[in-house]
Symmetry: C2
Subunit: 246 residues, 2 copies
Amino acid sequence: MQRWKLTIEYDGGPFVGWQRQPNGPSVQEALETAVTAFCGEETLVQGAGRTDTGVHAMGQVAHVDIHYPATPKTVRDAINHHLQDNPISVLSAEAVSEDFHARFSATGRAYLYRILNRRARPVLERGRVWHVARNLDADAMHAAAQRLIGKHDFTSFRATECQADSPVKTLDRLDVSRVADEIHIVAEARSFLHHQIRNFAGTLEYVGRGKWTPDDIDRILAAKSRAAAGPTAPPQGLYLTKVVYG
Amino acid sequence: MQRWKLTIEYDGGPFVGWQRQPNGPSVQEALETAVTAFCGEETLVQGAGRTDTGVHAMGQVAHVDIHYPATPKTVRDAINHHLQDNPISVLSAEAVSEDFHARFSATGRAYLYRILNRRARPVLERGRVWHVARNLDADAMHAAAQRLIGKHDFTSFRATECQADSPVKTLDRLDVSRVADEIHIVAEARSFLHHQIRNFAGTLEYVGRGKWTPDDIDRILAAKSRAAAGPTAPPQGLYLTKVVYG
C-alpha cells in the first residue's frame, strides 16, 4: 500500500463542495470515482480543507491509499484521465509515508478572495470573482484587515453551523491590495472557521465603501456575535490556494 | 449626433468572431442589437480589430454614432443592460469627435497569447488558454521571438485568406515570459496580419520544445511561405488587450 499526496485544482461552480454529500456532486466523490476507475480499489480521498459549495481551489491537498503499484506520473495522469469532463485536475501526485494526513498534518492554509471592482459585470472572469460595482477603497480595507491579525475569538465571523470546537483562532495574514480592476484579499492561518474568509470579505467590503471604518472591526470582534459583522461574501470569489505542511 | 468610443471586454468562445456574419452570432451584431434596444437607432458598431472566432478581448475598442442624448455612464450601463446574457461588457464609453475612427485612427494594437504549460489540463482557465503539456523553454522562445522584431515580409506567418494589401509589417514587441505555470506572449504592432500572432505562437511553441532554434526563425522569415512556419495556435489563448490612439 502506498499513500499518495495529491495537489488539486478545481472549479467549485458545479459542486456542492469538497465533501461527499447525498444532495449533489462533490469534488471528493468525483476523485474517489476516478481513483476506483484507475486502480479498481474503493478508497477514501481525504482533503485538507472542506471547501463550501461553489468555492474553488488552486492548491487543495488530499491523500489517498492505493495498493496498485504506480509511479507518481501515472497516478496523476490516470486520475486525471478518469476525471473525464469534471472540472478537476490533479496537478501533482507525490508518494508520502503513512503518517502523512492531508488534514491533520497541515500546519497552514492560504486562501485568495477576488473582488472584481468595476462598473461593468465580469465576462472573462465570470464565476471566478465577486462583482462589486461601487468603488472600494483597498487601502482602508487593508488597514481594517490588520485589526483582525493575531489570536482572537472570531465568533462574529463564524457561520452559525460551524462545527469547530472553539471560535478562537490565530490569523497570520490578511492582506488587501488592488490588482488592476480587482481587489485581492490574501488570508493565511493554521486553520479557519466555517465561512470565516467570506465573512471577512463581506465585512471588509463595508469598510471599502465607507460604511464602516477600521475602528468598527474592533467593535465587531468584541461583540462576539455573527450579527455584528457584514454579510457573507459569495463563494465564487474564494480560492483555496495552498496547504502548508511541516 | 454624438460619436462614442467604447472599450469592450468579451469572451470569444460563443462567437464567430468580432465581425457580423450570416453563419453565427458575432460580437458586433450583439453590440449593435444592444445599442438599438437602448436608443432605438440602427447603428454600425465599428471595431478596431476583427478578432477571429473564439478570440477574446480585454480591451477591444469600437465607435458608434448615437443621436439619443446620454451621458457616458448611461451609454455604458444601458448597452451593458441590453447585452443581457451575452459574455460582452462595455468597460467604458467616452464621447469623441467625429474624426475619431476606431479602426483607422488606431496607431497600435497589443495582444496577449496565453499558454498553460503543465501536464494537468486547464480547469479554472479552461477556454482561456492553449494547453501545452510538454515542458517549454520560455527563454528560447523569447530569444527566437526577437528575430521577428522590426519590419519584415511576414508572408510565412500570414493566413492564406488574409486580405491585407501587403505582407510587410513592423513588429514592435514580441516578449515571451513564464508566469507561474503559464507562458505569456505579448505582441505589439501598428497592425497585424490575419492569424499572425497565432502563427507566431505555434512557431514559438516548436522552439520552446526544442524542435526549432532561434536560427530557424530567420530561415522561416526568408522562406516567405506559410508552409515554412509552425501551425496556427488555437484561438482561445489569444486576447486583444489594448488599442492605442494618437
